[in-house]
Structure formats: C-alpha cells, structure tokens
Amino acid sequence: MLISVKDLHKSFGELEVLKGMDIEIEKGNVIAIIGPSGSGKTTLLRCLNALEMPNRGSFHFHDGFDVSFNKNPSKNDILRLRRKSGMVFQSYNLFPHKTALENVMEGPVIVQKKEKGQVRELAESLLQKVGLGEKMHLYPHQLSGGQQQRVGIARALAIEPELMLFDEPTSALDPELVGEVLRVIKELANEGWTMAIVTHELKFAEEVADHVLFIDGGHIVEQGPPSEILKNPKEARTMQFLDRMLNPS
C-alpha cells in the first residue's frame, strides 16, 4: 500500500463536492478515475496533492508519513505531501518563460536543490524518453499541445515522485495528438510507476488501469478491476454512465 486516504471531504462554499471517500492505492498500480462531469473526480485528484485543501480526511503513507486535514495541517506537511506526487495538468501549465529543458529542471534544481549538471542529464534523458530529445531547447509556445503535455509529464517525473497524478491529460488535445500522450503514459505504467489518472478515455483506462474508480455525486459508487467496472458493472449509475459514453448520440 503506497497511500491510504480516509474520509476525504471537500466543499466549495455550500457545495459539497467530495462527501467522504476512502481510497487506497497499491504501489505500482494504475488507478483510473472515471465519472460524469461534475462528479468530483478532478477535485479528488487535486486533493491528493493538496492543490485543493480537503476540509476533512487523513492521508497515510507506507513510509509512516501521516497528514490529517481534520485540523489545519502545517505548511511543512503540505510541502512534504506535494513532494510525494507529480501532477500532469489538463492544460499542461508549462512555464512559458522557460524552455522545455528548463521546465523539467526547475523542480529538481530549485525544490530538491540538486546539482545542476546532474539534473541536466536527468532532464535530458526524461525528455528523450517522452520523445522530445530534439526539442528540449524550445519554448512551450513553439511546441504542439501533445508535445507540451509530454514536457509536462517529464517535468512531473523529474522530481522522482512516488505517485503520478494525471488530470484529464488528453482532454485539451486535438484528437490526432491524443495517441502520443497516451503512449507515454502506457509506457510509464509498464515501468511500474504508481499512477492515478482522471480520464474520459475508457478504452485507454481498460488497457492500462489495474483498478477503476467510478465516482458520481461526490461518492465512490463502484470500484474494482477494469474487467469488472467497465465490462460488468453492478451499479445502475455506472451502467448508465458507460452507456452514455459508448453511445454518445
């Protein structure tokens, strides 16, 4: 067990988005989080690295690190929690004033205070891994959406997180660019990275996920292996959702 989250709650003002979720992520597993829009899946993911502060809930990590949101957690705990995970955003959020290489180097150099020469090697190899060895000196605006997202993945990997979080990583991409990003994510899954992925790509979820969470109305409605959740769901709401996703018209 890499991380176990208990009783996660999150409200925005009056609106309660997460109504008490328990989640466990095994080391090396890929979790796909699916559900209708507005179900709270992105909020759930963002709570996992405290980009959204949960109103309640406790995190327990395998190495003994615990952080509880039932009282205000310390700044240090928040930083420590964030440094355990890498995040890939729907809209990439690359630093526009830095080249691809500088984007990837920023975390290890500034946050982890690693030696620059060493980090440069790591960053170059990560960019090569995502197929951008030739483009590392370009600025984000000189790259396509798919390339930017791959830089985003390399940037998240560079801090060597224990957990990779993907927030609808292909939703902002033109259809013909989706494949190159999904291929990289699949490769990471094969390498044994622990990942949580919010996605609308059901076929992709079926291929890479070890575990699927179906979320609706702020609750985990159903979870299990993809063969179960995506092929033989038990809950009516899951069936309805899958039916709508597979037959959009």
């Binding site: 980009l51 700044k75 930083l79 959020n93 004033h97 500034i110 946050v111 984000p140 605006h141």
Partner: protein, 233 residues
C-alpha cells in the same frame, strides 16, 4: 518711441544663440547631478516599496492589506507637490529637518511606490492560477513559486505601464525645484530670471526633458523585446 519699444522687448523674443550655448551646460549639469540621480534613486526605492505593497495587498493578512490600501489611497489622493512640501517645509515643525535632495527622494519614492504597486498587483493577478499550481505541484513553496514562476511573467506584463510611471517621474522631478533642489528646471528658472529670456530657457529645458524621455522610451522598447522572446508571435 515705437521703434524703441520693439527693441526693448525683442531681448526676450528673439532666439539668442549665445545664451543658448551658455545655458545648455548648466541645465545638462543640473540634469546629470540631480534630475537623473533623483529619478533613478526614487524609482529603485519606489519599486521595492511597490513590490512590498503589492504583496501586502495580495496577502491573506487583513492588517497588512489594510495598511497597504491606506498608503496607496493617501498617496494617490493627494498632490505630489503637497507631499513634497509636507516633507521639506512641514516636518521641520516636528524638529525633523531633511535636506532638499533626500526630501525629494523620499517624496518621489513614496509616490512611485503607490502608483507602481497597483501595476505590479495587477500584473501578478494577470498570471494564470495554473502557473502557481504548476509550481506547487513540483513542490515549490509560496515564495519559490512567486520568485521563479509568477514574478518573471508578471514583469513582462508590467514593463509598459511601469515605463510610463518612470517617464512621468523624470518630469515630476522638476517639482523638486520648488524645494530648492538645483536640478534642471531650477537652473532654467534661475537663468531665466537673470536674463529675462523666459520663453527660450523654458523651451530649452522642455527639450532636454523630451530628449531624456525619448531615450528612456527607446530603452523600454529594448527591454520589452527581450522579454517577448518566449511569447507566441
């Protein structure tokens, strides 16, 4: 008699080349000794005040934000000349006597600080929230995200309006002549009173201000070009 009249007044009306030559040097010296240092020091100090004020206004502390808000409101709501007079002619009533030049620096810094803080605040707010989040997601502290990610992007946005503030400041330093700083315009006033050549000397002064402002706007253009390199054209 009629003829005489024209002769008398023509002293002030015709362009006097000799006077131009002899007046140019003192005015340029006034600019180099006072106008330009006054501008540079006040702007540098003002920018520090502006950044701190902008951060105070953006902070979650109600007290800090409140102090910053009152400061900006007071400075923007009162004439610069009045502020200058309070510092130089007013404070001695409390036993605080400050020389003309430092008085001018204090007044101009506070003035620039207030105006520029609003520019900086708006520039910081113009950087998308996702940039903060991307910084936090790689483990940055608030301070690291601000200095490494947000401020560099905010700087690019703020250069054109800050340049306006800077050029305004160059011109505003002429007010220091009223608290006895012998800067460019004070020199022009002294010579004009001596030579009865008001139009010529004030126009000469105006042209020197214009040239300084023009050179500054050229520099502004170069800075903007440098900072544009990472933006899609």
């Amino acid at each position: 008699m009629f003829h005489n009249n024209i002769l008398l007044s023509s002293a002030g009306r015709e362009f006097n080349w000799e006077l131009f030559q002899s007046s140019l040097m003192p005015m340029i010296l006034g600019a180099i000794q006072y106008t330009i240092p006054l501008t540079l020091f006040s702007f540098a100090i003002g920018m520090v005040i502006a950044l701190l004020t902008a951060l105070a206004r953006l902070s979650t502390s109600k007290i800090l934000a409140g102090i910053a808000r009152v400061y900006v409101s007071a400075v923007r709501g009162t004439p610069l000349l009045v502020q200058l007079f309070i510092i130089f002619y007013g404070l001695p009533d409390l036993g605080i006597v400050i020389d003309p030049f430092p008085s001018a620096i204090i007044a101009f810094s506070l003035n620039v600080g207030a105006y520029a803080s609003e520019i900086i605040r708006a520039s910081i707010l113009s950087v998308p929230k996702g940039q903060w989040e991307a910084g936090f997601a790689i483990g940055m502290t608030q301070r690291q995200a601000l200095s490494r990610i947000i401020l560099p992007q905010a700087t690019r946005v703020s250069i054109p309006p800050l340049s306006n503030t800077f050029i305004s400041l160059v011109k505003d330093t002429s007010l220091a002549s009223l608290i006895l700083v012998t800067e460019l315009f004070r020199k022009a006033q002294e010579m004009a009173a001596r030579e009865f050549a008001f139009l010529q000397l004030y126009i000469t002064a105006a042209i020197i201000y214009w040239i300084i402002s023009f050179l500054l706007s050229l520099i502004q253009g170069r800075i903007e070009n440098r900072l544009e390199r990472y933006v899609a054209k």
